[in-house]
């Protein structure tokens, strides 16, 4: 086993950071369901401690040389020795800080957003469940343990998407999310079981060492890498399993911010980074990942061009940004991918939380409607949103600029320029659709609401509570904006921190030339300007270039017909095809033949029963006749 001896402080912090949210989940479900304030207090208290522990761990281990592993063997069934415990290395130290920060901010924000909801306690219970699962996922020492929490994260996603379970679309979306990610997870499951069968160990440290895989044929390695990647595709909503994520926006907005943009969907990318040395041993698999990342990135960006729903635009952009991360990792840019994950978590959570403020106030998701109602008058969210969008587009000096730059750098070292070109197109589209949204919101078209109309008629009654809600919701926005502004400047120390463990194994990315950065910046500016021309300048018709081509518009807004395809698959092939066939077989063939045998028995009994008239006299007659005949027979 690799690693230095465990430090008691570390272990205590780890246990506190993971087990407290679980305890609060149980406590809320069992004891405090009827007391919303106490539930929220428990949940936020536990996540605060988790945050403090994570930061402490990061600070304590900033000069970490080799991964630390604390583990016990949980199941010691013969043939199945699986370590269960914690692994500490730069990657997951970074990850737990990101996760606990966003969890903390979102839970605070939810105090305002979810105020007065009948399921307030339930909401915080699920949030705690998610925090527990996500923190444990990040700290898992073995693939099996990671899978364990991977599924639990999926469960909390299901529960939170369908949180407003009286709404049909919400439950439908939750189900879709669970089943689609499950489809990916099954591949992951098979993949790691195959690995286990061939290597006998699922410890992440072990899998990442070259020695462990020495005896395995390259084709098998590629196969298991691809299978495990299936789980990533499902969780991070990559092509072809990408359509669940936009639907998942049916959940409460803080949930979208936490699970479906910043942390849970990033778990896929995290897994990629986690097993990066393992994956990079199979060049074929790596190029497949690169291709899938690129396809998802481009598809999702085109979908975002035409959406009118503010949350869906950000959802598509999440898919495409995750695509960027996977491209970066697939291209070998370990740092670029992880760094983009970090910055993206910050600015995407920010964008969602801002949208949440608008949605909470105006109760609509439509960007034109929001604009008409005067969303631009809300100063803090609007400024934060512009900041977030600018970071998303990759404008300096915001965090997104630095991480995109790193990605372009890693793409540019690839021999084939196609990937870089695709990446640049992606940068352009990203800038265009994010500023399309911003300009629509900022500059309402001709039909503006009367200027003197009250901003929020629905919330007038409870002025003090309202103010509290606004403040509670504004605080995370300000913090996240600050993070978005400054995080980019920490690129170098982070790179050093993350790279420490990797350079040791000779996997650090090579330095690239600078022209791709310039091109990316130029294209981002071009995207923003195109958006300005079409949506922003005075007298603009607010019609994008895609809207002018109806067939393209249809293709994009129907999400490239991927959803139709799945609908058809489930309805026709599964429901009306195999399922009905099996059911009919059960009823007609198996039951039919069994019932046939029974009926046959009954029928033949009935035939024989005709001989039985029930008349005692006939029987006597027959008896006598037989006796007489017997007598005659014996006599002669």
């Amino acid at each position: 086993m690799v690693g230095s001896p465990p430090h008691a402080v570390d272990l205590a912090a780890l246990i506190a950071a993971t087990m407290l949210p679980f305890a609060s989940f149980l406590a809320i479900l069992v004891a405090t369901r009827g007391r919303p304030r106490l539930s929220a207090g428990l949940s936020i208290g536990s996540v605060t401690i988790a945050l403090v522990c994570s930061i402490a761990l990061l600070a304590l281990n900033f000069q970490l040389a080799a991964p630390i592993q604390f583990s016990t063997r949980l199941i010691a069934s013969s043939g199945l020795n699986i370590p269960f415990g914690f692994l500490l290395d730069p990657l997951n130290l970074l990850m737990i800080v990101v996760v606990s920060t966003i969890c903390f901010l979102v839970q605070v924000y939810s105090l305002g957003y979810m105020a007065g909801d009948p399921g307030f306690s339930r909401y915080y219970a699920f949030m705690s469940l998610f925090t527990w699962a996500m923190m444990s996922l990040s700290l898992s020492a073995s693939l099996l343990q990671l899978y364990f929490f991977w599924e639990l994260v999926g469960l909390s996603s299901y529960l939170l998407i369908g949180f407003w379970y009286e709404k049909f679309s919400a439950t439908q979306a939750g189900k879709k999310a669970f089943v689609m990610t499950r489809a990916g997870d099954v591949a992951f499951f098979i993949g790691f079981l195959l690995l286990f069968i061939h290597t006998g160990d699922l410890s992440i440290v072990h899998l990442n060492s070259r020695a462990a895989l020495a005896g395995i044929s390259p084709s098998f390695l590629t196969l298991s890498a691809l299978l495990i990647f299936g789980g990533i595709v499902g969780k991070s909503a990559q092509f072809p399993l990408l359509t669940w994520l936009p639907d998942a926006m049916e959940g409460p907005t803080p949930v979208s911010a936490l699970l479906h943009s910043a942390t849970m969907v990033a778990a896929g990318v995290y897994l990629f980074a986690r097993l990066f040395p393992f994956f990079s041993m199979s060049p074929v698999a790596m190029s497949v990942f690169l291709a899938i990342g690129t396809i998802s990135m481009l598809l999702a960006s085109t979908m975002a061009l035409v959406s009118r729903d503010i949350k869906r635009v950000w959802a598509y952009s999440t898919i495409s940004q995750l695509g960027f991360m996977i491209m970066a990792l697939g291209a070998g840019g370990y740092f670029a991918g992880v760094f983009h994950l970090t910055t993206h978590a910050g600015f995407k959570a920010l964008l969602f939380l801002c949208s949440g403020v608008f949605i909470h106030r105006y109760e609509t998701n439509d960007i034109y409607e929001l604009s008409r109602l005067g969303a631009r008058r809300m100063l803090v969210p609007m400024v934060s949103m512009v900041l977030g969008a600018a970071a998303l587009s990759g404008l300096p000096p915001l965090s997104g600029y630095f991480s995109k730059e790193a990605i372009m750098g890693s793409l540019s070292v690839l021999p084939d320029p196609v990937w870089l070109a695709a990446g640049l197109v992606g940068v352009f589209l990203t800038a265009y659709y994010s500023f399309r949204l911003i300009f629509i919101l900022l500059l309402p078209g001709e039909s503006e609401a009367p200027a003197g109309a009250p901003a929020a008629p629905a919330h007038e009654s409870d002025e003090s509570g309202h103010k509290f809600q606004d403040r509670v919701m504004a605080l995370p926005l300000i913090i996240l904006s600050a993070v978005t502004v400054i995080l980019g400047f920490f690129a170098t120390p982070l790179k050093h921190f993350l790279g420490a463990s990797l350079t040791a194994r000779g996997l650090a990315g090579t330095e690239a030339s600078s022209w791709p950065h310039m091109a990316a910046l130029a294209l981002a500016v071009a995207g923003v300007s195109l958006a300005w021309i079409e949506f922003g300048r005075k007298g603009a018709k607010q019609v994008g270039f895609v809207d002018r081509i109806p067939s393209l518009y249809r293709l994009f807004s129907e999400r490239w017909y991927i959803d139709r395809f799945y609908g058809l698959l489930v309805n026709v092939v599964v429901d009306r095809g195999i399922s009905r066939l099996c059911y009919q077989n059960d009823k007609k063939v198996i039951d039919g033949s069994i019932d046939g045998i029974c009926e046959g028995t009954v029928e033949s009994g009935r035939v024989v029963a005709f001989l039985q008239t029930g008349m005692v006299q006939y029987r006597l007659l027959a008896m006598f006749a037989v006796l007489v005949l017997l007598a005659l027979y014996f006599y002669y």
Partner: protein
């Protein structure tokens, strides 16, 4: 095989508490419902405590047969009253104890023919306990039938949907099963030439020729396979589940189906290992078809209990797949899955029972929005559904994990197909949850009460067991491997 004689006949005490409970109930006047139920709870509680004691007192280091009780009964035929537990039967005995106790609590609100119901129920459970602990082939057969015949009455009298059909179908199927088992047992008895039904004496490798083993194994596999709902002999089980009253459904799906799988393991596999190896692939094919097929048919169902019934077919396929791998891991996983599935279906039926008693329907389209009206009762059902999907943290995950691991090792293709069945299972479980429990609340059920603490006790117990075993699987694995490892080692030698 290592044998540890019992200091006190705990196993007989378990049996006796069922029988004495039955007799006591029969002595209570018909109309004293409350007293009958209290007596039932007391006796089933004693039973549960005894099984818990046996489970925790079982020496996991020593393994082998423990708590052995041996009394010769008919020496001329070699029949003896021979009870013992080993690593395979111990989880099943614990399962029976838990399901028995919670089944009594689930039927707390029964009002018709209370006395007869509980008397027959105790008799049925006595048969099940007897079968799990008996080490004598003759007694195994007797207990098998003892547990079957009360089942017919319980379903036909207290059942609900198409109860006569369901009861008759179940009885005929299972009698057909015993018609296959009996000749096989007699064949083994005759061919051994030892004049004994004792399991320990018959379990010598090389006692039977390969031909005898192959033939006997097939008979036993099909005979017990009917009870384990092996495809295509499964159609009695959904019909039976649906027709039975809830407490009986719990025992039926939770424990009786395990008898089938346990019979395959104890009698067919352990006595005819060569036959097992010969037919293993055949078993695997049936098991994989069962897993996928059960899930697909489950998609089409509109009755809550039918959904659970078909999910049982699918899950028992997992057990059978584990048994078919001829590996230690496969056996471990199969026995674990038996336990997990038993607890899970008991939780399912217990929740459905509660809901049905209130809403008087179990048709999914007529329910809807129950989460708003009875959040706790719905929560238990949803938890069982999550367990059925193999969610980590609940018991079923470990059973499936280990079985699939073994299957992927031995039959990669079947393993992959079976794992893909998980997606379909997830789809149909979530569909049921969505249609029955989510959505706008149905005004028809607006005034209904959510579950109280006392009426919720059986579900709390079952859910707690699912969670505890799910978080600490070694609790069971440590027991099971005391039987599976020596058995497979003996086989390989």
């Amino acid at each position: 095989m290592q044998m540890e004689p019992a200091s006190f006949p705990f196993l007989s005490a378990i049996l006796l508490s069922c029988v004495v409970g039955m007799l006591t109930i029969m002595l209570i006047p018909e109309e004293k419902h409350r007293l009958i139920k209290q007596v039932s709870v007391v006796f089933s509680g004693i039973c549960l405590l005894l099984t818990l004691y046996v489970f925790f007192a079982f020496n996991r280091k020593l393994g082998g047969l423990q708590f052995v009780e041996h009394v010769s009964w008919i020496p001329s035929l070699g029949i003896s009253y021979f009870n013992a537990v080993d690593g395979f039967s111990l989880p099943n005995i614990l399962l029976t104890g838990i399901v028995f106790f919670t089944g009594v609590l689930t039927m707390w609100e029964l009002n018709t023919r209370v006395k007869e119901y509980f008397a027959l129920y105790f008799l049925m459970v006595a048969g099940v306990f007897g079968l799990f602990m008996s080490m004598d082939l003759f007694f195994i057969f007797v207990w098998y039938d003892v547990s079957l015949f009360p089942m017919y009455l319980l379903i036909a009298v207290w059942g609900t949907t198409r109860k006569e059909y369901g009861a008759m179908k179940l009885t005929l199927y299972l009698l057909a099963g015993s018609a296959l088992i009996l000749p096989a047992i007699i064949l083994l008895w005759a061919k051994s030439g030892l004049d004994t039904f004792s399991f320990v004496s018959l379990m010598h490798p090389g006692l039977f020729t390969p031909e005898v083993q192959k033939f006997a194994f097939l008979l036993l596999f099909l005979g017990f396979g009917i009870l384990a709902a092996v495809w295509p002999l499964h159609t009695w089980s959904p019909d039976g589940h649906v027709a039975a009253p809830h407490g009986v459904s719990m025992v039926h799906a939770g424990v009786l189906m395990k008898i089938g799988a346990f019979g395959i393991l104890r009698v067919a596999i352990m006595l005819c290992p060569l036959g097992w190896i010969y037919w293993a692939k055949f078993m695997a094919v049936l098991a994989v078809i069962g897993i996928v097929y059960g899930a697909f048919v489950g998609l089409m169902q509109t009755d809550l209990k039918y959904v659970i019934g078909y999910s049982s077919v699918s899950h028992m396929g997992v057990v059978c797949l584990g048994l078919s791998t001829v590996t230690v891991a496969g056996l471990n996983g199969a026995v674990f899955q038996m336990f997990a599935h038993g607890i899970m279906t008991a939780l399912f039926f217990s929740s459905v029972g509660y809901i049905y008693d209130r809403t008087h329907t179990k048709m999914i389209p007529e329910l809807g929005g129950l989460s708003r009206i009875m959040p706790v009762a719905s929560g238990f059902f949803i938890m069982a559904a999550l367990a059925g999907m193999g969610l980590p943290g609940l018991a079923n995950f470990w059973g499936e994990l280990v079985v699939f691991l073994a299957a992927l090792k031995v039959y990669p293709l079947f393993g992959v197909i079976a794992v893909l069945g998980l997606v379909v299972t997830a789809l149909f479980m979530l569909r049921v949850v969505q249609k029955a429990f989510y959505g706008p609340a149905n005004p028809r059920f607006a005034g209904l009460q959510d579950v109280s603490l006392w009426l919720g006790t059986p579900r709390i117990i079952l859910a707690a067991v699912l969670l505890i075993v799910g978080l600490c699987p070694s609790l069971l694995f440590n027991v099971i491997r005391t039987a599976s490892v020596p058995f497979m080692n003996g086989l390989l030698r």
